[in-house]
Amino acid sequence: MAIAATIPNAQLTEAHSVRGRELVRKSVEPILKTENLWKLYRAGKVEVPALRGVNFSVQPGESVAVMGPSGCGKSTLLYVIGGLASASRGTVLVDGNDLAAMSDAERTKLRRSKIGFVFQRFNLLPTMTAKGNIAIAQYIHGDGFDPHRFDVVTKLLGLEGRLES
């Protein structure tokens, strides 16, 4: 079942940010926006729609949870808006960049600089230590290994004592 059927667009297009106890409504460009987003999977000769015309937007600083029953297309939606999978139809705008119009290489570049993933399964590189998993991400970003940034991140995550595990 497509995600559009389970998540009312009205709920998703509202932008909120919380500053202290005050709820402030903002009128800025959405950081993420989908328009008539479709994703079709092919099973033999049959096309199975996982997303059917999804429309929603997310404002900068906004936290959004996507909820729905198993198989409704939540993961597919995240893969498409995360640039890991291409859309079959429609547009996905991430910070003004249309993922649907991008090549795989362009999406990879955007993913590297603007998108982070937290997987349901940890999806760490099993042959490497915690330190190595963080360092490889830095390496892929093309920044090289930055010890200062590494220390900041590991302290932030409370990983100082587990880096070699």
Binding site: D104, T108, K109, R112, F119, L125, P126, T127, I136, I140
Partner: protein, 364 residues
């Protein structure tokens, strides 16, 4: 990336060791085969050069490897050669293969051999005198465990070992020419003639005269012969060496292909993770190729060690062998192995780079 490659290799130590050994075997096969052929040829050339002659005359059918032909010529040729200007001495030699206890060439010689070569350096015993006398060089004596005074059976004939000589003069075993002629049914025949000129500068003049008198024979200056004795210039041998190198490359290529293919399949999810982090296709390709290259580097080192170990083992078992392991061929074998490893890993690398990120992340 270096740490990732190292940890990936250490993650499956058995597979890595098998890969390294296979590449090592590939390198060893190339280095050892080339070393063996070059060593034997170079050593043979040195021994021919060590005779001290300036020119040799062989039948037209004789190949570059002298031992490959024992086609006899009339021994009377010696008299005509001796009459030529600038010829100091001529030594007829009858060659006979002995394949008992290893392949070797036996020289049937007479006293003229001493005139051309300047005589043997005796470590034990004396020169040939009787019809059943035999001389062996020090290496043959060691490998066959032969001493002066012993009887040695060769060509179904009992020989008396009368002397052990320093190696380096043509063959390792010398017997009287007349006896060998009788035994091989080549009475008054010789396989080749060594010619000593009055001065080395006259070699070309003598060769020119010889070509007029013996137009249908193979005449070579010894210095030219020595330069011809390389594995790449000997017809047939270079084909054999090329075939062995090709075989070695095939082994290495297939092993690397299989190793990297299974590695890529096993790490499908890791590839998905790397892609989600923003790794592009060239990064994935590089990661696979670098891992293959690292594996190959280990294999090259193992191959060099295996080559020296194999040489030590062979020389212990066959002391008369000459195996020439050269830095040039170690580098060549390493380069060949590296090219094979990169080629072998190319398809798995391409396959990994083309892998759909979502499918890779959900792979079990």
């Amino acid at each position: 990336m270096g740490e990732m490659i190292l940890r990936n290799l250490l993650h499956r130590p058995i597979r890595t060791v098998i890969g390294v050994l296979a590449i090592g075997f590939e390198v060893m096969l190339i280095v050892f085969i080339v070393g063996l052929t070059s060593g034997i040829l170079s050593e043979t050339a040195k021994r021919i050069e060590g005779v001290g002659a300036d020119i040799m005359l062989q039948p037209s059918s004789a190949g570059v490897i002298m031992g490959m032909s024992n086609a006899p010529m009339p021994i009377k040729i010696r008299d005509r050669l001796s009459e030529l200007q600038y010829v100091q001495s001529v030594a007829p030699v009858l060659l006979q293969f002995n394949s008992t206890g290893g392949v070797e060439l036996v020289y049937g010689i007479n006293k003229t051999f001493d005139e051309v070569s300047g005589g043997f350096v005796f470590l034990q015993g004396r020169n040939l005198q009787g019809p059943d006398d035999m001389l062996v060089d020090d290496l043959a004596a060691k490998s066959k465990n032969v001493r002066v005074g012993q009887t040695f059976k060769l060509f179904n004939h009992d020989w008396n070992v009368v002397g052990v000589v320093e190696h380096g003069k043509g063959s390792r075993i010398f017997v009287p020419l007349a006896t060998l002629q009788d035994l091989s049914g080549a009475t008054d025949k010789a396989s080749l003639f060594f010619i000593k000129c009055t001065r080395p500068e006259h070699t070309e003049d003598v060769i020119a005269d010889m070509k007029l008198v013996f137009p249908n024979y193979t005449i070579r200056a010894i210095k030219d012969y020595v330069s011809l004795m390389t594995s790449t210039s000997v017809p047939g041998l270079n084909v054999f060496v090329d075939a062995m190198i090709s075989l070695a490359v095939c082994i290495g290529l297939l092993v690397i292909f299989l190793t990297m293919y299974t590695t890529v399949i096993e790490r499908t999810r890791d590839i998905g993770v790397l892609k989600s982090l923003g790794a592009n296709s060239p990064f994935i390709v590089r990661a696979v190729l670098y891992e293959s290259a690292a594996l190959c580097l280990g294999g090259i080192l193992a191959g060099v060690a295996l080559s020296y170990a194999a040489r030590a083992g062979f020389l212990k078992a066959f002391p008369t062998l000459s195996i020439s392991i050269t830095p040039e061929w170690i580098l060549r074998a390493g380069a060949i192995a590296m090219v094979g490893a990169v080629l072998g890993a190319s398809y798995p690398a391409w396959m990994a780079s083309r892998r759909d990120a979502v499918e890779a992340l959900t792979f079990d």
